[in-house]
């Protein structure tokens, strides 16, 4: 990322440049006038950092408590509103664990970059909680999830096959986010965060329109960002699969009433399976074998295709774009200059130096593209594997990867209603 690059540049600048003459030129010798001092407002105090982390921690705890322990939708709703207010509108949605993926990735690949500890906590805490309790972070704490949760008023059912296929986009986004952060090109997840402009009540019109379009779509398609794009959600979904105390729908015995499945706005509830026919089973086995054989091929093919993306990948980095532009200008392929090329020429930096930097990014992009392609191959192969392996379910269960523990289904479950004492079950009604 640039941070390291910038600091490197700064060191070099200090080492090579002498103070320009003008900075040594004294101001006039006033007879009776004191030079004013330039007062600058201080940066935000670190105290707030602790406060934000505390809100995150308490929010996570409360959300888990209401989703797993108390099984209270109302409690979750309150946590949702509070967290949206604090982390979203008050703090402007920065820094969030979704964006923190990139900081972590940069820290992994750029030895000069130290991950700020607050970012490490923001990134790691929800992961650990998810490992034990499922996606309670998504349920109420994440401001991006919260705002979509609140607008999901008239959800329609997205067919499961489409839902699964679109879910792949989150892995694409995750891969790209990690790769571009690793090569230091950009933090694209932050760049295209759809709600950040809404949280700040202003900003570029494009971002506002993007946020509004997600909200409008979100009225009918529950949590479109979380389900189909959120890269952090993709990670949490994987972790949630192995969670120990994931939210369950029927507290005791499932009566197969299908109410919860109808009620879930996110299509996360899976119905019980029927016994397979022998023929299907054989076919399934063959298919599984085929997918297992194809999986390494997908990965290899992905790598091969991905490394060919070296050029376009490198171009995301500003240094590569600048180097190309400067060269193109110098051989007359393009006419005129841009702000960037003009700034470069006046900066006194040598083209060789820029080329060296750009070439380094370019060389890195080969591997970046390759690994991105391999990742996509792995994801697609893995998804096919998931869709091929047959699971057995005797009752209605949430799919742990897609379920965000929002708790909407609790109210609909007759068993839950009985347990909470909201209704009296009579043998006659059953």
């Amino acid at each position: 990322m640039r941070i390291a690059w910038y600091s490197g540049m700064a060191v070099m600048l200090l080492a090579t440049s002498t103070a320009p003459a003008v900075e040594r030129f004294p101001p006039p010798d006033f007879s009776d006038h004191e030079l004013p001092r330039t007062e600058m407002p201080a940066a935000r105090a670190e105290l707030y950092e602790y406060l934000d982390l505390a809100v995150l921690g308490i929010g996570l705890g409360m959300a888990t408590h209401f989703a797993i322990g108390r099984r209270s939708r109302r409690g979750l709703f309150v946590v949702t509103v509070v967290c949206l207010g604090w982390l979203g509108f008050w703090r402007g949605g920065c820094i969030c664990p979704i964006g923190a993926i990139q900081n972590v990735s940069l820290a992994l690949f750029e030895p000069g970059y130290a991950l700020p500890w607050s970012v490490a906590i923001v990134f790691g805490l929800p992961l650990v909680v998810t490992l034990f309790f499922g996606r309670t972070f998504c349920a109420a704490v994440c401001p991006l999830g919260a705002i979509q949760e609140l607008v999901a008023l008239r959800p329609v059912k997205v067919p499961l096959w489409l839902d699964q296929a679109l879910g792949l986009l989150a892995y694409v986004y995750l891969g790209l986010g990690v790769i571009f952060a690793a090569t230091g090109a950009a933090f694209i997840i932050c760049r295209y965060d759809p709600f950040v402009a809404l949280f700040r009540l202003g900003g570029s019109m494009n971002l506002l329109v993007l946020g509004a379009s997600f909200l409008v779509a979100g009225v009918f398609v529950g949590r479109p960002y979380c389900r189909y794009l959120c890269p952090y959600g993709a990670i949490l979904g994987l972790l949630s699969k192995v969670s120990k105390w994931h939210a369950k729908i029927p507290p005791e015995e499932c009566i197969q009433c299908r109410l919860c499945e109808e009620a879930c706005p996110y299509g996360a509830i899976r119905e019980p399976t029927v016994a397979m026919q022998r023929q299907t089973r054989q076919q399934g086995r063959r298919r599984l074998a085929a997918v297992l054989i194809a999986l390494p091929l997908f990965v290899a093919g992905g790598f091969w295709l991905g490394q060919a993306l070296q050029g376009p990948m490198a171009k995301v980095h500003p240094a590569v774009r600048l180097a190309e532009r400067v060269h193109a200008e110098s051989v007359g392929l393009v006419s005129g200059t841009t702000d960037a090329s003009e700034a470069f020429r006046t900066s006194g930096r040598s083209l060789t130096e820029l080329d060296r930097e750009a070439s380094a990014v370019y060389a890195k992009s080969y591997w970046a593209g390759g690994w991105f392609g391999a990742w996509m191959g792995l994801v697609i192969g893995g998804k096919l594997l998931y869709l091929t392996v047959r699971r057995r379910r005797a009752e209605y269960q949430p799919d742990r990867a897609s379920c965000v523990s929002c708790g909407r289904c609790f109210w609909y479950c007759p068993s839950e209603q009985a347990r909470q004492g909201w209704v009296q079950l009579t043998p006659g009604r059953q």
Binding site: Y6, S17, M40, C190
Partner: protein, 190 residues
Amino acid sequence: MDEKEKRLRRRAFLGDSLRVAGALGIGGAMAALAVRKGSDEKLVWQLEPSKCIACGNCATHCVLDESAVKCVHSFSMCGYCDLCTGYFRPQPIALNSGAENQLCPTGAIQRTFVEDPYYEYTIERRLCIGCGKCVKGCNAFGNGSLYLQVQHDRCQNCNECAIAAACPAQAYRRVPASDPYLLKVGPQQG
């Protein structure tokens, strides 16, 4: 305890161990990345005045409607000119504060008489939108005492600063929050 229950319990234990190991792994990895360089200093965005070309992107690419970047005046570098090219349009009709002579579109610079032949210029932060027009004027003819800085009472300190991404001179970098400005300072008087 029958065989089945035993097996289940073993599985549960195995699962728990894995989860605990995973949690420790995540925590450990994060900790390792965080303490690696021992830099526990909080960082904030700032722009390097010596690289800035005053292109005006600061005024419009900030996530805030009113940009966090505003003009700053280095009093110790100023020439206190009567004809300040950061204050006056290139060909002013007269050297007074009439609107027809002023360079700043929002009228954010104040001009006060100090003593013959010196005038002092101060930035009215409230009105400045960070377009950098005066910076260009001052850099072209004067000492470069007008320059742009991120104002930390306004800056949201985004994870990736939107202006940094749009800066053609790549003049943005992170600086320690305890010393969040890159000020231009000339020799003090006397």
